[in-house]
């Protein structure tokens, strides 16, 4: 495992089922901008995308792989618009197949730090009560666990990604180091902290700017909980989903549209930041030049003044 200190950005990929195609567009845009990632984390579908980023040698390579994965998911998507039929794409077997096809397990050891957000599984009754209370009260779910993939045994790495990426309730859980885990997006549900696993990457690499690729436009995740870090949030504008079923909609048109929107939203956000920074940098450089000229002129003026004084003294004598 490498902690690439020369790489300036952390990348946090949130969960959201089929909407995860948006992140393929986000990553493509950042690869074109020339961003390098030093640490990555993911929850749910974001964990699958993050696995590709962590096991790829470059972000450009990751962007290409993700495009292939999402296009293959779109190709396999049943024609029927039934969400139930399409949930199969987020089944354990399918996720495992994708990971094994596109990610080399050993590549994680050579790649960047990769955290997966996982939620410890409770009994069905406990989870039902949790669902009701968190939906209608201020009571929040417990914190997710953030496991560093490189610290897990090779067989547990796939399990961790699968556990996070598979649909909870439908496809169950995975046992890792004696603990049963499901989708990490369920932790701290009110603040989406489990679904937005920024915590471990910021702790690991506080100096770096952190990119958070949301799939919910109005995610309640709060950037101001991390006052010391520079955070760039990429949020979908307009919202990706109209209702809950969209997260299971892997139809080709939707996937292409999400990827395209991810790319556009990222470029717009980064262009705005870059334009503003460039303007201020230009102002800074003009100001510095102004000070430099003033200093030089001041020094010349003093020299002329001294020379004139000598001449004046000469005239008197």
């Amino acid at each position: 495992m490498k902690n690439r200190s020369d790489k300036n950005y952390n990348l946090v990929l949130c969960g959201g089922g089929a909407l995860g195609a948006f992140q393929a567009g986000v990553i493509k845009a950042f690869s074109e901008i020339g961003v390098s990632i030093g640490c990555v984390s993911g929850a749910s579908i974001g964990a699958l995308n993050a696995a590709v980023v962590a096991s790829s040698s470059t972000l450009k390579h990751a962007a290409n792989t993700l495009e292939s994965i999402w296009m293959s998911l779109a190709e396999k998507s049943p024609d029927a618009s039934s969400a139930v039929l399409q949930t199969g794409l987020l089944s354990k077997n399918n996720i495992k197949r994708i990971i094994c096809n596109f990610c080399d397990n050993s590549a994680f050891d050579k790649g960047i730090s990769f955290y997966v957000s996982l939620y410890p599984k409770e009994s069905s009754i406990t989870r039902f009560v949790e669902l009701i209370t968190t939906s209608f009260t201020d009571e929040d779910t417990p914190e997710s666990d953030y496991l560093l993939i490189q610290e897990l045994a090779p067989e547990d790495r796939i399990k961790a990604i699968v556990a996070s990426a598979c649909l909870p309730w439908f496809y169950g859980s995975e046992k890792i180091n004696g603990k049963i885990y499901t989708d990490g997006g369920q932790g701290r549900f009110h603040s989406r902290k489990g679904n937005t696993p920024a915590e471990p990457v910021i702790k690991n690499n506080r100096e770096s700017t952190t990119i958070v690729a949301h799939l919910e436009s109005d995610s309640p995740w709060n950037r101001f909980d991390y006052t010391d870090s520079t955070i760039i949030e990429i949020r979908p504008i307009p919202p990706l989903s109209k209702d809950f079923t969209d997260i299971f909609d892997f139809t080709k048109n939707k996937i292409l549209s999400y990827m395209s929107q991810g790319y556009d939203n990222t470029m717009k956000t980064m262009t705005k930041i870059a334009d503003f920074m460039n303007s201020l940098n230009y102002l800074d450089s003009v100001f510095s030049k102004q000070i430099e000229i003033s200093k030089e002129l001041n020094s010349s003026s003093l020299k002329v003044e001294n020379a004139m004084q000598k001449i004046k003294n000469l005239k008197r004598t």
């Binding site: 109005d218 709060n222 950037r223 919202p239 100001f287 102004q290 005239k315």
Partner: protein, 302 residues
């Protein structure tokens, strides 16, 4: 902050402490939090149906969404304040820096104008000095020629007094001395139009006086009278060499009876009686008369 303080501030690089650079976080937070607020407002605007609003209210999602918008906008405004404050400080100090530049330029311009004036004065002084030097050189030159002329006069009259022309007639002694002066350093001085006329007059008077003195002396040695006849004035001693006479005739050849009667007399004195000589020449005359006439004919006439 006065002008000197600004100069000091700039010199000491204190300016960078006055205006700390905006860090990347401030800029990213400003631009990005507005973007985040926009995306949430976007969702808020589409979640308009009645039952959706009821659901969002009951679950608290609506309040959370509004809280998120407020937090992002408040943060954005806070950062805008930082940026505006930064821009105002930059504009303020920039104005002072420009003022400082302007003052420095004015100072340099003033000094340049003084320098130009000084240069003009120096040039004027130099020209005056040059004129004075030329005048001085001219003066030194004149003094040099004066000295030469003076030495020349002394040399010629010394030679006469020493008896170098004893074998010549009295008039020939005078004429030879005057011709020697005319063709030597004294003559050059006399003919130079730039030299002082007063000095020239002084020299001429000196020559006349010296000539009269020497002629009187010579006259007293040869004759008992101080007013000899014209023939006596032009009479050569018997022991005079023929060559000396010939040389004198050659020298005086240019003179005519009308223009230079006293000089012309050298060529005719042996052949003509005194009564046939020019009416300008008296039959008897004193040294003053021949000196005045000869000096006029040799040195003054063209």
């Amino acid at each position: 902050m006065n002008e000197r303080d600004i100069a000091k501030t700039i010199t000491n690089n204190e300016i960078l402490k006055i205006i700390p650079a905006l860090n990347q976080k401030v800029i990213v937070d400003l631009v990005n939090s507005i973007n985040v607020a926009k995306s949430t407002i976007n969702v808020q605007s589409v979640r308009n149906p009645f039952f959706t609003r009821i659901f969002d209210s009951i679950t608290g999602i609506s309040a959370k969404r509004q809280k998120s918008i407020n937090a992002n906008l408040a943060n954005g405004l806070d950062n805008i304040t930082n940026v505006v404050s930064y821009l105002i400080k930059i504009a303020g100090v920039s104005g002072k820096v420009i003022n400082n530049i302007s003052k420095s330029l004015t100072n340099v311009n003033n000094n340049l104008s003084l320098l130009a004036n000084f240069s003009y004065q120096t040039r004027k002084l130099f020209e005056e000095l040059n004129d004075r030097q030329e005048m001085l050189e001219k003066k030194i030159n004149q003094v040099d020629y004066e000295n030469k002329a003076d030495r020349h006069i002394t040399q010629e009259f010394d030679a006469w007094a020493a008896g170098r022309y004893d074998n010549f007639s009295l008039s020939a002694r005078l004429y030879t001395t005057l011709e020697n002066l005319n063709w030597g350093d004294f003559g050059s001085y006399l003919r130079n139009p730039t030299f002082d006329g007063v000095v020239k007059e002084r020299f001429l008077r000196q020559i006349v006086d010296k000539s009269v003195i020497q002629l009187r002396l010579d006259l007293s040695k040869i004759f008992t009278t101080n007013c000899p006849t014209v023939k006596e004035w032009y009479q050569f001693p018997e022991e005079t060499l023929i060559d000396a006479k010939s040389a004198l005739l050659y020298l005086s050849e240019y003179a005519t009876e009308k223009d230079r009667p006293f000089i012309h007399a050298f060529s005719v004195i042996d052949r003509l009686p005194a009564s046939k000589l020019s009416s300008e020449i008296p039959r008897f005359f004193k040294p003053q008369r021949i000196v005045q006439a000869m000096a006029e004919e040799v040195l003054s006439k063209k």
